[in-house]
Symmetry: C2
Subunit: 329 residues, 2 copies
């Protein structure tokens, strides 16, 4: 049984779980078509015969199959490992909750929350400062919360400090407010050479994971943000977005405005119909690349300092964040 099939089988079981009555191949195929998934009736029956064997489903006369107890449980646990669209949903909810006004430079944006040991803070500051300075962060603001201070609904433990950095989906929120629908394509690791983006070396689609892709890469020590900041050669976190082609010009202007507002993070905006960094695009769309908000923390982790990161942490008033020049003195 391969991965792909497993997933398709889960799709089938999911349909069954949403129906009280038993269903057969035809109706299931119908339901899946509505979900945008094509599968022949025969194939569905083929899967069902497999799940029958595994005891996940059972026949009810000729009226169709239904899930067994075991099947329901299987489905629930599988959900955990396969929360398709979960990150995407959370990101969207946060984006929708933003009320940042670009003109006024205030309002809530989406921030990442990271924690690290208080004792490591001085060294971490130094590392992060270099990353901000080299322009590999998202915007130039952040906030460090010491124990006793509250940061949104987050309170540092006694020996911890909390670092809030702007999350890259904040860019989507600003764009949306400007009437520009921006969709997340994937997050990944971006190879940088001479301080210029070259290509993505690893990608994770947003709708297949539970974590923000960058969190995973940070934990896996797969980045080299420090080196990138110092020599211009390295691998940083970044994500790929898409907008409608007619919005491309506006996006370029937006990038400049964001830069001036301390929210700069748009690395590249492509051209209609042209692949961007080798990533192909559907007709009528243009791609863009946005720096990852967690890059400074990735650098910290690279420096051997343990961090714990939570992307898409929460909404936080932008005006309460401070310039890194001030905070990381």
């Amino acid at each position: 049984m391969d991965e792909r099939s497993r997933r398709k089988i889960l799709d089938v079981l999911r349909v069954l779980s949403e129906s009280e009555k038993p269903l057969g191949g035809t109706r299931i195929a119908h339901a899946l078509a509505l979900a945008g998934k094509d599968m022949s009736q025969r194939t569905i029956r083929y899967y069902l015969s497999l799940t029958d064997t595994e005891g996940l489903t059972e026949q009810v006369g000729r009226r169709g199959r239904r899930l067994t107890e075991m099947g329901s449980r299987e489905l629930e646990t599988a959900y955990v490992a396969d929360k398709v669209g979960f990150v995407a949903a959370r990101a969207e909810a946060l984006i929708f909750g933003m009320d940042y006004k670009l003109r006024q430079g205030r309002g809530r944006v989406v921030v990442n929350m990271s924690t690290l040991d208080r004792a490591d803070l001085p060294r971490a500051k130094e590392v992060m400062r270099r990353v901000f300075q080299a322009g590999y962060s998202l915007g130039e603001r952040l906030l460090i919360g010491e124990p006793g201070q509250r940061m949104g609904n987050f309170t540092p433990q006694p020996n911890e400090v909390v670092v809030a950095t702007v999350c890259s989906v904040s860019v989507n929120g600003v764009a949306l407010a400007e009437g520009m629908p921006m969709t997340n394509r994937f997050g990944g690791l971006l190879l940088v050479s001479e301080h210029r983006p070259v290509r993505f070396t690893q990608i994770i689609n947003y709708d297949g994971t539970t974590l923000d892709p960058l969190e995973i890469f940070i934990k896996g020590q797969m980045t080299s943000v420090q080196r990138a900041a110092e020599t211009g050669e390295g691998v940083i976190g970044a994500s790929f977005r898409e907008i409608p082609a007619p919005a491309a010009e506006k996006a370029r202007r937006l990038a400049a405005r964001l830069e001036r507002s301390g929210l700069g993070g748009i690395l590249l905006v492509g051209r209609p119909g042209q692949p961007l960094l080798e990533v192909p695009l559907p007709p009528g769309r243009v791609g863009m690349v946005v720096r990852g908000g967690l890059n400074p923390l990735a650098a910290v982790e690279e420096a051997g300092i343990a961090t714990s990161n939570r992307a898409f942490g929460q909404l936080f008033p932008f005006e309460q964040l401070r310039s890194y020049r001030e905070v990381l003195k």
Copy 2:
């Protein structure tokens, strides 16, 4: 060779066509992964061996395959039949070009352009009036252009009249202006009973066709809008949209405001996590159903009057459209 494979092969050829250098399985698989398509290297080589046989590709030593002349031509013609995402792109461009202001009730919206024989107009008016009256249209406005009048960049031929109706993607535009990103899921035929939507009987995903789904169904005489308007039982054109779950409440309010502005068309707004009309939704999203803007024309076609329809025709100032009560007197 089945349909599915054909499409996958085209994906592979497309990658080849975008590269000047010959490529082999590994790199092609890489490129496809960036496009969100998974295919094993072996499978790609398998396809390539097939296309080699057909003369669409050829080997270049061990450096990989490249497209032959024939291959390029094949790809171009295939594009015509398989303009994936083409409608979606056009719709998006138009949406982005809208400047309709809900508060003021003016500005450009997306309209469909239909033409019919001038001689049929009186009868067509009667038919359309019933549809508007029964509330199966999108909004309550339209415009009929006689020869000599210009309608946007459209001029009726001597014996024709042009009918402009509001296109359902205008709703997306209004929503976008309110900060609510709405995506088109599919268009299709909606079964109606007792004037209430029951379920979709046919669907066509937007990104697999060149035409607006409803155009196809109208041509195929698959609707029964007249019957729906008169008895409450029938099949009308409608489309399925998706919005982020947190936007659901706002969408409901928007539906009411649109109604008051003569742009009513939102039939249903679902609940988070709940399937809507049996259509399953990803976590964190809610579905909605919007009436098709071409329904009045579908009814005309049903009445045996030939029409020609162009959905997503162009942008047109809403304030220049008139209430059906006035136009279809």
